[in-house]
Amino acid sequence: MRYAIPLLILGVLLAFFAVGLQRDPRVLPSPLIGKAVPAFELPVLALPKAESPPLSMGNAAFAGKPYLVNFFASWCAGCQVEHPYLMQLAKQGGVTIVGVDYKDADADVRQWLAARGNPYAPILVDLDGRAGIDFGVYGVPETFVVSADGRILHKHVGALTPEAFARDVKPLLGAGS
């Protein structure tokens, strides 16, 4: 009985530590979840094989179907890690992956894609990082799941993995039509 209260306090502390230490402090909740996609209108990256693509694209071009917005860059290590999985997703089809090339030189990203393949349908260029700020991007790669009616359903920070896709993204892709 004498030790009941100190033990209780210890128990509460341990519970807090157990939960707190397993959280990743770098993953921040996004205030954009459930809200409309920030308005964007960005230049489209011209690629050697593409036939006269539009010069720029905005929200309206993607409305009507759920899609992913993947902020990436050729200078980003995490993007290299997730790239093979994005290739696999693109090959499977089913979801459009809009790439946003974040603060990256066009020549660099063309070379990067030529070496690794291009999973994106189109790649938009965010040279000064303004669109990144509107999306609340604080470190590439970041992936947003957007519903058919243009709301952000989920944000994944860091390299997208098959596990994270199956758990967090896939169930959302049928929603919001």
């Binding site: 402090p25 770098r26 921040l28 909740p29 996004s30 205030p31 954009l32 920030p38 860059a73 050729s74 200078w75 603060k103 990256d104 030189a105 660099d108 990067w112 040279l127 000064d128 990082g129 990144g132 700020i133 509107d134 999306f135 609340g136 604080y138 470190g139």
Partner: protein, 154 residues
């Protein structure tokens, strides 16, 4: 051979891609606006190096955000509006002083509640001690009962 290796390394360094920094035009501020900016920046968190403020940080994103804030100050936005602009995008985490609301009341009041509990415990301990002391204090002995005892002893 050594020269070849060195050349290869130099090539590797050149081939490594780097983040692009777009040169942006400088935004002139009035003295008063400059002061407002200086007051605002230390309250805003750098999202990349989480324990630094925007005022201190040299991270590329922090520089971008600093520029953005500068632009907002120049356009005459109030500090509240500027903070709204940032929390709309990055959440309350961007503020070093989170607002008091349904999610943060425990954070704000928790320490005071703990101090209150500690004070109550302390008070009880002190009272308990006094009571114990009173029971053994010769001055507090019932004088009538003492007198009676002494009479009986005679």
């Amino acid at each position: 051979m050594k020269r070849l290796v060195a050349a290869l390394f130099a090539g590797l360094l050149l081939a490594a891609h780097a983040q692009v920094t777009v040169e942006k035009p400088e935004i002139p501020l009035s003295v008063e606006q400059e002061a407002r900016l200086a007051e605002l920046l230390p309250d805003l968190r750098c999202l990349v190096c989480q324990n630094e403020s925007l005022a201190e940080s040299r991270a590329p994103l922090a520089l971008d955000l600093k520029y953005e804030v500068r632009e907002l100050v120049a356009s005459g936005k109030s500090p509240t509006e500027i903070k709204r602009y940032l929390t709309d995008r990055y959440g309350d985490f961007v503020l070093f002083r989170p607002p008091f609301d349904a999610r943060t009341w425990l954070l704000w009041l928790g320490p005071f509640a703990l101090v209150l509990v500690a004070l109550l415990v302390l008070l009880r301990q002190i009272r308990g001690g006094k009571r114990e002391l009173a029971a053994t204090n010769p001055k507090a002995v019932d004088k009538a009962a003492l007198k009676k005892l002494l009479e009986e002893a005679k």
